[in-house]
Symmetry: C2
Subunit: 183 residues, 2 copies
DNA sequence: TGTACATCAGTGAACGCGCGTTCACTGATGTAC
DNA sequence: TGTACATCAGTGAACGCGCGTTCACTGATGTAC
C-alpha cells in the first residue's frame, strides 16, 4: 500500500544506511534483497527508490565516506589538528578497526572492488578520498600543497596497512599494523 | 580423451597462469569457465586439476605474488638494494602500473576481496606479503627489525596509493600517486 | 616387444542456486472538486 | 470540510542469466602380462 511522503523518505534513508553497512561488510556484491530486508522492506520495492543497484552503490559509498570524514572532523574539533589526526590514525590502525568491517573506511574495505566498478562509482569514491585528504591536511607543517601531499601519503599508508592486514594471516597482519603505527 | 602426464602437467600450469592473470583483471569472481577457456580447455575438466575454485584461487594468488616478488628480486640483483628498490617503487607508483591490472601486484588488485575470503587464501596472501617485505628490507638503514618495519610501511604506502588511485576519478588518482612518489 | 585392458584428462550437457530486474497487484495517501 | 478518484510505495511471484559443481561419456595413455 502507499505510504506517506515522510515514510517514503525515511525508507529511502534506511535503504542507503543499510547498504552503507552491508557493502562494507560483504563487498559490492551485497544483494539488493539483503539490503532491502535489512531496511525492513521487501526487494520488490527497490526500484521505487533507485534506478539500479549501481545507483544505490554510489549513494551508499558516499554515505560511508561521510561517516568516516565526520568522525575525523569531530576528533579534530575536539582535540585540535595534531592530536585529532593522531587519534584518528591510531584508531584506523587499531586491531579493533580490523574487525568492524561494517563501519570501516570504504577505501580499506571496498578499494580494489571499486577499482573495477563503472566510472560514476569512482567519481563518488574520489570525492570521498579528497574529503579525507582535506581534513587530514589540518595537521602538518609547510605550504598547503605540502600538507596535502603529506596527508595523501598518510592516508595511503593507513589504507594500505589495513587492506594488507585484513587480507593476511593474523601474524602478518600484526606485523604490518605495528610497523605502520610507529610512523 | 586421456592425455599424457606431461600434457596434463602443462595444462595444470596453464590453468594457474590463466587464473593468475584473470583474477587480477576481474577479481576473485573471475569464472572457472573463463579461466579454463583462457587455458585452452573446457570448464568440465576443471575438477581433474583442483578440488574447488578456492583451491585454484589460493594457487593463483601464490603465483601472482611469485611474479611480483621475482621482479623485485631481479631489479635488486641488477641495480643493488637501494636503486633496485627505488626502481620497483617508481614502477609500482607509475601511471602505467595503474592500467596493467592483469600483471599488477595482487595486494593492490585483490586486497579488499581477499579480506573477505576464507582463511587459506589469507595464509597464501600473507606469505606473499612477507616475501615482498623481506625483499624490500634489502634497502634501508638500521637493525634488521627496523629495516623490516620500514619496508612494511613502504609497501603499505605503495599498495594504498595504487588501491586508492584505481578506485578514484583520474584527477584524484593523479594527486595520490604524485604525493606518494615524492617520498 | 605385442597385446588386452584399466585409467583418467578432457568434453559438453545438466543441476541447483542466487542474483538484478520486472510485473501485476494492493490499498493508504494525496489531490481535485 | 467531505467525497471521489488518481497516484504510487510496498509486496511477492516470476523472468533470464551466470555461476560452481556434477556427471555420463570418449578415447588416448599407461600398465600388466
Amino acid at each position: 500500500m502507499r505510504v506517506s511522503r515522510e515514510e517514503r523518505d525515511r525508507s529511502h534513508a534506511r535503504i542507503i544506511a543499510s547498504a552503507a553497512r552491508l557493502i562494507r561488510e560483504r563487498g559490492l556484491g551485497a544483494s539488493v534483497a539483503d539490503v532491502m530486508s535489512a531496511a525492513g522492506l521487501t526487494h520488490g520495492g527497490f526500484y521505487n527508490h533507485f534506478d539500479s543497484k549501481d545507483a544505490l552503490l554510489a549513494a551508499s559509498i558516499g554515505a560511508a565516506f561521510d561517516e568516516v570524514a565526520s568522525e575525523l572532523s569531530r576528533r579534530i574539533k575536539a582535540l585540535g589538528p595534531e592530536k585529532g589526526v593522531a587519534a584518528f590514525r591510531a584508531s584506523y590502525l587499531s586491531d579493533r578497526h580490523l574487525d568492524r568491517l561494517e563501519i570501516s573506511c570504504p577505501a580499506a574495505v571496498l578499494g580494489t572492488e571499486v577499482g573495477r566498478a563503472p566510472e560514476p562509482l569512482k567519481t563518488r569514491f574520489g570525492a570521498g578520498i579528497r574529503r579525507l585528504i582535506e581534513a587530514l591536511s589540518a595537521d602538518g607543517k609547510g605550504s598547503a600543497q605540502q600538507r596535502r601531499a603529506m596527508a595523501a601519503r598518510d592516508l595511503a599508508t593507513m589504507v594500505g596497512a589495513v587492506v594488507i592486514a585484513r587480507a593476511s594471516d593474523p601474524e602478518t597482519a600484526r606485523e604490518m599494523l605495528r610497523a605502520c603505527r610507529e610512523s
